[in-house]
C-alpha cells in the first residue's frame, strides 16, 4: 500500500503542475463579475499539492486491497483490463453487440480459462440479454455497428 499511495501522491503532484498551468490561464477576479472561473481551481490545485505532500510523508501501511500480488502478474486483471480498454476503443467502430460479444468471449477464454464453446455460448446469451434489456425494453439508442444496423429495421433497437 505504501508504494501505491506514494505513486498516487507523485501522480497528484504531476497533475498539480498541469492543472495549475491551465488554471493560471483563467482569470481569478474580474471587476464586473467578481470571483472568476480560475479562483477555485487555483486554490484547489495548491491544496491538492499540500495534501499530496501529506500523503508522501505518511503513506500508510498494511497490505494493499486485493492482496500483495502485483495486479500486472494477474491473468484476470490483465484480461478484464484489456477487455475494458478494448471495448472503449472498439465501441464507436463496431457497435455494442459485436464489441461486447468479443470482449465477453475473450474474457471468458483468456482471463477465466473457460472452453471456447462455453465462452461463446455465454457471450451470446449475455449480449442478447443486455441488448434486450437496454435496447428493446428501455429503448436506449445503441452505438451503431453491423449487427445493430441489421436489428434496427426490425424494431428491436434504435441507433444512437
Amino acid at each position: 500500500m505504501r508504494w501505491s499511495a506514494r505513486a498516487v501522491a507523485i501522480a497528484a503532484l504531476v497533475f498539480c503542475g498541469f492543472a495549475g498551468w491551465e488554471a493560471a490561464r483563467l482569470p481569478n477576479w474580474s471587476a464586473f463579475d467578481g470571483p472568476g472561473p480560475g479562483l477555485l481551481p487555483q486554490i484547489l490545485v495548491a491544496l491538492i499539492g499540500v495534501a499530496a505532500l501529506g500523503v508522501l510523508a505518511a503513506p500508510g501501511h498494511g497490505e494493499p486491497e486485493g492482496g500483495a500480488e502485483s495486479p500486472l502478474r494477474s491473468r484476470g486483471v490483465l484480461g478484464y483490463g484489456g477487455a475494458m480498454l478494448g471495448l472503449a476503443v472498439a465501441l464507436p467502430h463496431l457497435g455494442f453487440i459485436l464489441s461486447g460479444g468479443l470482449a465477453t468471449l475473450l474474457v471468458m477464454r483468456v482471463a477465466e480459462g473457460v472452453a471456447w464453446g462455453a465462452a461463446l455460448l455465454w457471450a451470446v446469451l449475455l449480449v442478447g440479454a443486455v441488448t434486450l434489456l437496454f435496447g428493446t425494453a428501455l429503448g436506449v439508442p445503441f452505438p451503431p455497428g453491423p449487427p445493430e444496423r441489421l436489428l434496427a429495421p426490425l424494431g428491436l433497437l434504435r441507433l444512437g
Binding site: 481551481p41 495486479p71 484476470g76 475494458m84 472503449a88 474474457v107
Partner: protein
Amino acid sequence: MMDGLIQGFAVLLTAQNMGLCVLGAVLGTLVGVLPGLGPATTIALLLPISLKLDPTGAIILLAGIYYGVAYGGTITSVLMRIPGEASSVVTCLDGHAMARNGRAGAALGIAAIGSFIAGTFGILGVMLLSPPLAELVIAFGPWEYAALMLAGLSLIAFFAASGVAKAALMALFGLFLGLVGLDPINGAPRFTFGVPALVDGINIAPLALGLFGLSELLFLALGKEQRAEILRPPSTLLGFMPNREEWRRSAMPIARGSVLGFLIGLLPGGGAVLASFLSYGVEKRLSKHPEQFGKGAIEGVAGPESANNSGTAGAFIPLLTLGIPANAVTALLLGALLVHGVQPGPMIMERQPELYWGVIASMYMGNVILLILNLPFVGLFVRALEVPRRFMATAILLVCVIGTWSTGLNSFDVLLAVIFGFLGFVLRRGGFDLGPLVLAYVLGPTLERSLRQALLIADGDLTEIVNHPIALGFLVVAVLVLLSGVVFRRRPAVVQDSGS
C-alpha cells in the same frame, strides 16, 4: 405531516412505484449477500436505468437498494463469517459465533427484527426532524452554505479510514473534477482541452460506473474464487425466533442502537458503517459480561444491526433537507436527483412533496417488505453465492459500458469510465477511500457557486464571514476537525460507506 404521509402512500401505491420498491429491496438484499458488490456499485450500475424512470420512481428504487443492503449483509456475516458489505463486518464476530453455537436462526431473527424496529425509528426521525431543520436552513445564505459544505467535507475526511491526508486529497480531487466544463457564471471553458464531450462537465455516470463498477470488476478479477463454508439457516419461520432470554438481552441494545445509529447517520462521513462499529463498542462497554463478546453475545448482533439500519435512514436527513450527502451512496442518490433536475434542499418538501413523501412512504413499506423477505427467503439469497464469479463479472462489464453510453450517447464517456475504473483500482490499492471523491464531486459545483456568490456580495472581502456567525461556526468546526485529524492520527480507524 400526516397529510404528507398519506400523499406519500398515494404516490407509492401505484403498480410501478410498488414494483420499484420491492425490486430495490430485493436487489439490495441480494447485493448485501454478495461479498464485494456494495451498494455504491449497484446504485452506480442502476443509475442509467433509473434515468429512464421519473425522479420519484428512480429514488424509490435506488433508496430501496441502499437500505436493503443493510439487511442482506447480515446473512453472510452470520452464516459464513463473510460480511456481504461493510456495515455488517462487526456482525461477523458474534453473529457467526451464535451460528456455530446452533443459534443461527436467533441471530438472523434478532438482526431482522432489530433492523425493522431501528429502520422504522429512523424513518420517524426523518419525518419529525426534517421540517424544523428545513425551516432553519431556509435562512442560510451563500456564506452559510459554503461553510456548511466545507465543514461536511472536513468531517468526511476526519472519519475516513485512510487518514486525513488521503481523504483530503480525494475530496480536493473530487471538487476539481466537479469544476470541469463551462464556468457556471461566465461560461468560460475550464479543463476541457478542446474535447466537446467535456464542455458539459464530467457526467456522474462514467465517474460512478468507473470508480465503483469497473474498479470492482478488476478486484473481482484479482481475487481468487473460493467457496466458503455456509452454515445452514433454519428451515421453518419458528426457527428464527429468539428465546425469552435472548429477547430480554436484546431489547436495550436495539433501543440504544436505534438512537445512536440515527444520530451518527446525520453526520457527514457517518452512516451505517460507523454506526454499527460504535454500537458494538457501546454494547460491549455496557455489558455485564463483556467476555462473552466475540463468542456469541446476542447484544453484539442486536445493537449493531439496529444501528446500521437507523444510520441508513438518518443519512436521508442531510441529503433531503440540506442537499448534502453523508456518504458515497447518498452522494450517488444526490447525483441521480440532480440528473433528474431535482435539487434537494430545504424547499424540497414544498416544491416536490410527492417525491419527498413518496420516498418516506417507500422507506416504511421497504422495511416491511424486507422483514417479510429476510427470514423465509434466507436460503434462496444464500444460493446467489453459488453463482460463479465469471458470470457476474462479465455482466458488470457489459452493463457498465452500455449504461455509461446510454446516459450521454457518446463513446468518450465510455473511455472516461474505463479511465476512472483503472484510477479507482489504483486508488483503492493505495488505501484511498473513494467516498470523499464522489461526495466532493457532487458538492463541487454548489460549493463553488455559493463561495463565488458570497465573495461577490462581499466584494472579495473574506473578513465579511465574521458578520455571519453560523458560517463562522461551521468554518471553525471545519478547521478544528481537520486539525484534530492531523494531530490525533492514531485514533481508531473506521470503515466508510464507500460501497465496497
